[in-house]
């Protein structure tokens, strides 16, 4: 390789494709598994379900699957943040139910849908702030605070819904358009192109900066290969969804939130502080980080994301009733984060685990529905997958510790 800028002799030279593969192998054998297990798992599950029922991967069903998982996935993004802190939020599903009920009640009383949705988000944030305060300042364990929340907010939900117990939203207008809006044909492809363009610009910008500073940087070939893989993926998805109704707005919202929170957690000082508090709160405190503020703010975000997920769920069902936010919603939201590779021990994980995990859970649920399996089978299989994911996390952690004391 000819380089115009003289490279720092101290670098290990992981620039080319071979270097990247080597670094990848070192990470995996060192217990930094990242998204690898869940990606493999997702592929296996999808292929298996496709062999059992050839409608599974057809455009119509993929669209259904996306609409089904967007709400849980959005809630799960908030759960990921809380898990990064090493805490738990058991109230997210109840909060999503309550906030969506408030949104629905406001909407049917003539409040503008945008205002109603904002009210739901603000309420979710306020609930998160309260629970975060109870945990971070008064030191009640987050498990207990949010368990109390789980019960209490369900009660408030019943109160809000009143005697009828159900609020129906108009279909096709207002809030339901959050889910039932599709970007067909050209717009779908433009979205895909935008995703690839942002990736390439960001990668090239980072490469230029790093080389200017004399640090190792990805080679153009590596960036090209990655961009090509990404482009194939998103353009095929756009093409596939275009064969049905187009790219759903719910998908754009959900994936957009995942990307934003991924950037926030990995590239901002705030995100770094979340990881630090999750990894070693004492060290974070001594380093001058306001641990209390970080903790409260994460619960605020979790509450807000729960509300956003609740709004999406209500928009999809065009109704809120007494069981909204109940059932297996909480379990799926937490399971998705863990299955996606976010550690329950705190300090390890990524916003993308919400996306990957919810796709795994959603695929199982959707596929087994196609096979006319009962809820009993669904629960058992989802439970087994969760156990496998948590086991992989625990084993990887042991692997890291074993190597860490070399």
């Amino acid at each position: 390789m000819t380089t115009s800028v003289e490279r720092d002799p101290r670098l290990t030279g992981d620039e080319g494709v071979r270097g990247h593969l080597g670094a990848f192998r070192r990470r995996v054998t060192g217990g930094e598994l990242g998204a690898l297990p869940v990606v493999i798992g997702l592929v296996v599950i999808c292929l298996y379900l496709q062999t059992q029922n050839d409608r599974f991967l057809l455009p119509g069903n993929v669209t259904n699957l996306i609409l089904q998982v967007a709400a849980v996935g959005t809630i799960s993004v908030g759960v990921v943040l809380v898990l990064l802190l090493g805490e738990i939020d058991l109230s997210v599903a109840a909060v999503s139910g309550l906030t969506s009920a408030v949104m629905a009640v406001l909407a049917v009383h003539g409040v503008h849908p945008v205002v109603a949705v904002l009210a739901a988000l603000v309420l979710g944030a306020a609930i998160g702030a309260f629970q975060g305060f109870m945990f971070a300042v008064t030191s009640v364990p987050s498990f207990v605070v949010t368990l109390a929340g789980l019960i209490a907010w369900q009660g408030v939900l019943l109160q809000v819904l009143g005697s009828t117990g159900t609020v129906n939203l108009p279909f096709g207008t207002g809030v339901s358009r959050l889910v039932y809006t599709f970007f067909g044909d050209v717009v779908g492809y433009l979205l895909a192109a935008a995703v690839v363009a942002v990736f390439v610009l960001q990668a090239l910008g980072s490469r230029r900066q790093r080389r200017a500073a004399g640090l190792e940087a990805s080679s153009p070939l590596v960036i090209g290969v990655r961009a090509a893989l990404l482009a194939v993926g998103v353009f095929f998805l756009a093409y596939w969804l275009n064969r049905d109704r187009g790219v759903p707005l719910a998908l754009v919202i959900f994936v957009g939130l995942v990307v934003v929170f991924d950037l926030v957690t990995r590239h901002t000082a705030y995100g770094r502080h979340i990881f630090a508090v999750g990894g070693n709160p004492e060290a974070a405190w001594r380093a001058g980080i306001n641990v209390t503020a970080v903790r409260i703010s994460v619960f605020v975000l979790a509450g807000t994301m729960a509300a956003a997920g609740g709004v999406l769920a209500a928009a999809r069902l065009t109704a809120v009733n007494q069981s909204t936010g109940g059932g297996d919603l909480l379990l799926n939201a937490i399971a998705a984060a863990v299955i996606g590779g976010t550690s329950l021990f705190g300090g390890r994980g990524s916003a993308y685990s919400a996306l990957l995990g919810v796709l795994v859970i959603g695929s199982i649920s959707n596929g087994l529905d196609l096979l006319n399996k009962s809820s009993a089978v669904k629960f058992m299989i989802t439970g087994a997958v969760l156990l496998v994911a948590a086991t992989i996390d625990a084993l990887a952690r042991r692997g890291r510790q074993a190597r860490g004391r070399a």
Binding site: T12, G30, A213, L215, Y270, G278, G279, A283, R286, A406
Partner: protein, 269 residues
């Protein structure tokens, strides 16, 4: 020997006393460290080493006595004051985040941000931090595969080195090291002692709290002994035997002091 004003004592404590309720933890203790000097603070358990260190780092301010920094009277009421003066502490438990990489730990709590709008939302200047981290570790001769290595995968000596390097990010003038070699093997101890010498060569005042007299004699220029919360002796490492220091630590010197005059100053009687 207790650094007069003229010879540039960087940090100087005089007549420091500290009580916890009825317990007199420190009585009229003097302590000083100069630029480019390694001072070892030794003493038996309960001698007051930790209490004195807490006075210096602002965690537990003294009840009486005065502190001078670079010749000026200083007040250290909380850890922030100590940091502002230029005093950094490396804790015995290192206070590292295992899940963050080396660069992340070095800059924890004082991350560099991008300029402009990106910086306003807290966007990290990763490249700048990685560059500075690599340079800092290089000048300290700390060998790591990459500053992107998670701290969890480092050896004990490497972790200690990272913790020490981190204390230098804020460009302090005095560094306090609490038992820096306590949990390390032979080779790693040598590594860390080397690093301590390099801190001295950079012109820092270094205070090492240690139980291990072998390490103390290997790295320190001066040894300050505390016993029962009082100064129990002060030795130049050159021309001092380990027996003399042990005698000061255990108090055996008290009995001999009148007769042999080994030199412990300020022994309360």
């Amino acid at each position: 020997m207790t650094g007069g004003e003229g010879d540039g004592a960087l940090l100087e404590l005089r007549g420091i006393s500290k009580q916890f309720g009825a317990v007199q933890a420190l009585t009229d203790v003097d302590f000083s460290v100069r630029r480019g000097e390694v001072v070892a603070l030794v003493g038996d358990n309960g001698a007051g080493k930790s209490t004195l260190v807490k006075v210096i780092e602002g965690v537990g301010p003294a009840n009486a006595g005065e502190i001078r920094f670079a010749g000026r009277l200083a007040r250290i009421a909380d850890p922030h004051d100590a940091t502002a003066l230029g005093i950094a502490t490396v804790y015995q438990d290192l206070a590292l985040c295992d899940n963050l990489d080396v660069a992340g730990n070095l800059f924890l709590g004082r991350e560099e941000r991008r300029r402009g709008l990106a910086g306003a939302v807290g966007w990290l200047h990763e490249v700048g931090m990685e560059r500075r981290a690599t340079d800092l570790l290089w000048t300290l001769s700390v060998r790591l595969p990459s500053v992107r290595t998670p701290v969890a995968s480092l050896s004990g000596g490497q972790r200690q080195s990272v913790a020490i390097a981190r204390s230098l990010i804020g460009e302090p003038r005095v560094v306090l090291l609490d038992e820096p070699t306590a949990a390390l093997g032979v080779a790693q101890t040598a590594q860390v002692l080397d690093l301590i010498r390099r801190l001295r060569d950079r012109g820092l005042g270094v205070v090492v709290i240690s139980h291990n007299l072998a390490d103390v004699f290997a790295v320190a220029d001066r040894i300050v002994v505390l016993r029962l919360g009082r100064n129990a002796g002060e030795f130049d490492v050159a021309g001092t035997t380990r027996e003399q220091v042990v005698a000061a630590i255990t108090g055996a010197a008290d009995a001999d002091a009148a007769a042999t005059d080994v030199g412990p100053a300020g022994v309360g009687s």
